[in-house]
């Protein structure tokens, strides 16, 4: 550790944290290496696969493309922050119930992207789900069970969306 590195403060999953790190260190690496929050995964490392998705100031971001200096004073949520008081987030329950996870590498990113989508749009159509998760790649499930998980998690999923899901099969 170098004393010349800046000390960067941010809130992670509701807790104020500080790290001293090279300003170009990727938020992804700070989360995993400095803060031991290894739920956030690295896939491609170039913003294509979405495995490293976290929420920063309410927006979904790829943490592999955020230099930690830009996360200063930010409010960050990682997959570790989705469950509250020992209760799984509805999207996590839906992934369990619908078989939305297989190998699990894409799952944290999928959960974050899905949580963001549902928060912005509580009743997404299948097309909107596909758009919301377009930046998250899965190589196991073939995506359908993931999309169905999101539909299930969306409160009072409209019949139209469910029908659309059947038609898309």
């Amino acid at each position: 550790m170098s004393e010349s590195w800046p000390i960067i403060h941010f809130t992670i999953n509701g807790r104020v944290r500080a790290v001293q790190a090279p300003p170009m260190k990727r938020l992804l690496d700070v989360l995993r290496e400095d803060l031991h929050l290894t739920g956030t995964k690295e896939g491609c490392g170039e913003g294509e696969c979405g495995s490293c998705s976290v929420r920063m100031n309410g927006e979904l971001v790829n943490s592999c493309l955020v230099p930690v200096l830009q996360a200063g004073d930010a409010d960050i949520q990682t997959v570790e922050g989705l469950a509250t008081n020992g209760m799984l987030h509805p999207i996590q329950r839906a992934f369990l119930n619908c078989g939305g996870a297989q190998c699990g590498i894409c799952t944290p990113g999928m959960l974050m992207a899905a949580a963001q989508l549902i928060e912005r749009n509580p009743h997404p159509t299948m097309a909107q789900i596909r758009e919301g998760l377009a930046g998250n790649l899965c190589r196991c499930t073939g995506f359908m069970r993931i999309f169905e998980s999101v539909l299930a998690a969306a409160t009072h999923a409209p019949e139209a969306a469910l029908e659309e899901s059947e038609n898309a099969r």
Binding site: M24, G47, E59, C64, L65, P67, E131, G135, N136
Partner: protein
Amino acid sequence: MRGNEEAHELIAPGSLPAVLDLLASAPGEWTPIAGGTEVMVAFAAGRLSAQKLVNLWGIPDLRFIRATSNSIVIGACTTFLDLRAHGDLTAKFPLIAKSAGWTGSIANQSRATLGGNLANGSPAADSSPALLVYDAEIEIVSKHGSRRIPYSKFHIGYKRNVMAPDELLYAIHLPRRFADHRHYLRKVGTRRAMAISKVALAATALLKKGVVSEIRLAAASLAAFPTRLFKTEAVLLGQPLTKETVLAASRTLLAEAQPIDDIRSTADYRKHVAVNLLREFLLELSTEGASR
């Protein structure tokens, strides 16, 4: 080889004047970084040549959309999600929101900025064709003042633009004169989401009494940088949309387009798709004109 975070300096002066002071103090030494969707990809791959980076993310003076009666002005660090969420912009300049919506994923659109897209200058840049057919102007600032140029004169070569080393892209101006025009934009890529264009074509046009009275055409991935298609426009301007006119315009576009073979497509395919897109637009235009 992976990027080494200790090999790059990154500082955050925190305000636009402070950034401009820094750029003026050592022209060419500092590379701006906004949403990082280009710079951080190069960094991670170990091919970021810039040693010194200056942060623009979070500077409020650069992230705004201002609507006036004559124009809409977009700050350089406005993100693609910001563009998609702005009602006036999406209503009056629909192609801007359309292209913003197919630029990468939601997680890219929350960080990638319009100014970054232009300053990066990819020939396949998603926002460029739309801006070109709306006669966008680019406002460039430095410690010594500001200047405005037509966006069609901003790119001067592959990933090269007219900005001096001490200058920064400040804003994009969109004049409100396209309310009556037909707007067209289509991108052809490998998949619907997350794809980089094989080719994209944008157009705005006015048809009066069956004759093309105004037309602007622009493309991505047909040249070393996003370009207006002035020669093809000239063939259409003042003409009725007959089969002969469409054929002449198609021939001109085939000659005017200068695409390359690369990892995403071939020059030949790009040219033919571009012509098909032009024909699709002209068909839409003539159909609409007939119904008026």
